[in-house]
């Protein structure tokens, strides 16, 4: 079952730390957001393979937005 990785805060995408096809463990950072001078990783909710990264560096995301999908 694919699962959405959602941003837990509003911020700007600072860094994309994984790519489609990568295997991730639960808690691994998928992307890193920057908000109010803080860098905040968005972590994989469970282990799996990254199917798609849905954001680009420099893009603003709102809390609750899907930033990636994990299979």
């Amino acid at each position: 079952m694919p699962e959405d990785v959602k941003a837990h805060i509003t911020g700007v995408v600072f860094q994309i730390t994984s790519k489609a096809g990568d295997t991730v463990a639960e808690g691994d950072p998928v992307i890193v957001l920057e908000s109010m001078k803080m860098e905040i990783p968005v972590e994989a909710p469970r282990a799996g393979v990254v199917r798609e990264i849905k954001v680009a560096e420099g893009q603003t995301v709102q809390e609750g937005d899907t930033v990636a999908v994990i299979d």
């Binding site: 837990h8 700007v12 908000s35 109010m36």
Partner: protein
């Protein structure tokens, strides 16, 4: 006296500088990004210049755009506030080359004190105690291990080009050093463009005490006493006060003398802060902030002096308006920084639109607010919304006034650290003045 000043900052500190300009009859020019057009600091100024899009590197951090705004508005001087370009020596130098007065120390001093390793060495030469650690930046793990064997564990790895707690890594024991070294080097390289690190002894439960210093171009250097700033999260301050409660008078005398000696040794001009850590009856130099400090109001409240006006006067070539013997610390003052962060979620950012704002007032209450109802608190900038400062004849009175003021401080639309501050003010440890820099991370003020 300066005729006009461009304020290269935003929010509460821009408003504070503009107010000081007004008091001295100086024309104040604000700058703003696209995101800040409706913010109060823009309305406060005599003139405002748009400098670019919301991201700071395209506006408030963009030297060319700030200088262009100064040219366009006919500004004669630039006040950098804190953060942004305030400790960027290249910016100070660029101002000088553009014929603008930089309200701060000479760029060479900023450069010298901005290199934390060079600053440490310079201070030790001036007789100021420094934290035991490496003599300079280290390039290899082997060198760090050798220093670790001498100063002992736990120790701290710090970025030589760093500041604000960014890139600092604590190392528990020799076995943890290799992994920590790699991580700290990578972070330092990413954040500051240099992987050079230095090693310092890690202090357990120390206090952060700093001294406000002020120099003029005539060579006078004075201090405006100390501030206690131990209540911090992520190495950034939340609560500050003056005087430092319970600080031994003999230790304080040595501390302020060392601060003045250190500032004099580097030819310091204008306002600056010498930061120290205090542990077990000893103090050690941490770093110097070559700019106006966020928490300067607590010093103003206990001395009755206006630091920002003095900055403008000294930048205009005037001698310091005070002699050391005139600078007396009376009563007590406390500052709570109101950040748009959620203390229940590990101080995570809480951007959004301020839908309601009710500011406390009353005797001995001072507010430095950068916001208003309806403004959008952006992800692009520091989360500081306002600073609440109270003063009292005694520390107890300042605490009582702060407690009352926090009760009536309402911010809706974004989360803030106000609930955290209420718990700090109510805590037995804070009331007794028993504070140290690791309290917040240890959960001392958790709900």
């Amino acid at each position: 006296m300066l005729a006009s000043v461009l304020v290269a900052n935003r929010g509460e500190i821009a408003r504070r500088v503009i107010r000081a300009c007004r008091a001295l009859g100086i024309r104040a020019i604000a700058v703003h990004s696209e995101a800040d057009a409706g913010w109060p600091h823009v309305a406060d100024a005599d003139q405002a210049v748009a400098i670019g899009p919301a991201p700071a590197r395209e506006s408030y951090l963009n030297i060319e755009r700030i200088l262009a705004a100064a040219r366009e508005s006919g500004a004669r001087a630039v006040h950098p506030g804190y953060g942004f370009l305030s400790e960027n020596w290249r910016f100070a130098k660029a101002c000088e080359e553009a014929g603008l007065v930089f309200v701060g120390p000479p760029w060479g001093v900023i450069q010298q004190m901005g290199d934390k390793v060079a600053a440490r060495r310079r201070m030790r030469e001036a007789g100021v105690p420094v934290v035991p650690g490496s003599d300079g930046a280290l390039d290899t793990l082997e060198a760090a291990a050798a220093v670790g064997g001498t100063v002992g564990y736990p120790l701290m790895l710090k970025a030589a080009a760093g500041g604000g707690g960014i890139g600092m890594v604590r190392v528990a024991d020799a076995g943890a050093l290799p992994a920590a070294w790699t991580a700290a080097q990578r972070r330092a390289q990413a954040a500051f463009g240099s992987g050079a690190l230095f090693v310092e002894r890690y202090m357990t439960e120390p206090r952060h005490v700093e001294v406000q210093v002020f120099g003029d171009a005539q060579g006078q250097v004075v201090h405006l006493h100390e501030r206690e700033c131990s209540i911090q999260r992520r190495h950034q301050k939340l609560v500050e006060e003056s005087p430092a409660p319970g600080l031994d008078p003999a230790l304080k005398a040595r501390l302020v003398a060392a601060a003045v000696a250190g500032a004099r040794a580097v030819g310091y001009v204008n306002a600056g802060t010498m930061e120290f850590i205090v542990q077990g009856g000893e103090f050690y130099f941490l770093e110097m902030n070559t700019r106006l400090q966020v928490e300067h109001p607590v010093t103003e409240e206990v001395t009755g002096l206006d630091i920002v006006q003095a900055q403008l006067q000294v930048a205009g070539g005037a001698p310091l308006p005070w002699k050391q013997e005139d600078i007396v610390q009376r009563g007590a003052a406390i500052e709570c920084r109101v950040y748009a962060e959620d203390p229940a979620k590990g101080f995570m950012p809480s951007p959004g639109t301020i839908t309601r704002l009710a500011l406390p007032q009353g005797p001995g209450v001072r507010l430095e607010s950068g916001v208003a109802e309806g403004v959008q608190v952006s992800v692009h900038y520091d989360p500081l919304l306002a600073k609440l400062v109270t003063r009292g004849d005694t520390r107890e009175q300042a605490i009582a006034r702060m407690t009352t003021a926090l009760e009536s401080f309402v911010v809706e639309g974004v989360g803030t650290v106000i609930p955290f501050h209420r718990r700090v003010l109510a805590s037995a440890a804070f009331r007794a003045g028993r504070v140290h820099t690791q309290m917040v991370e240890q959960g001392a003020f958790n709900a």
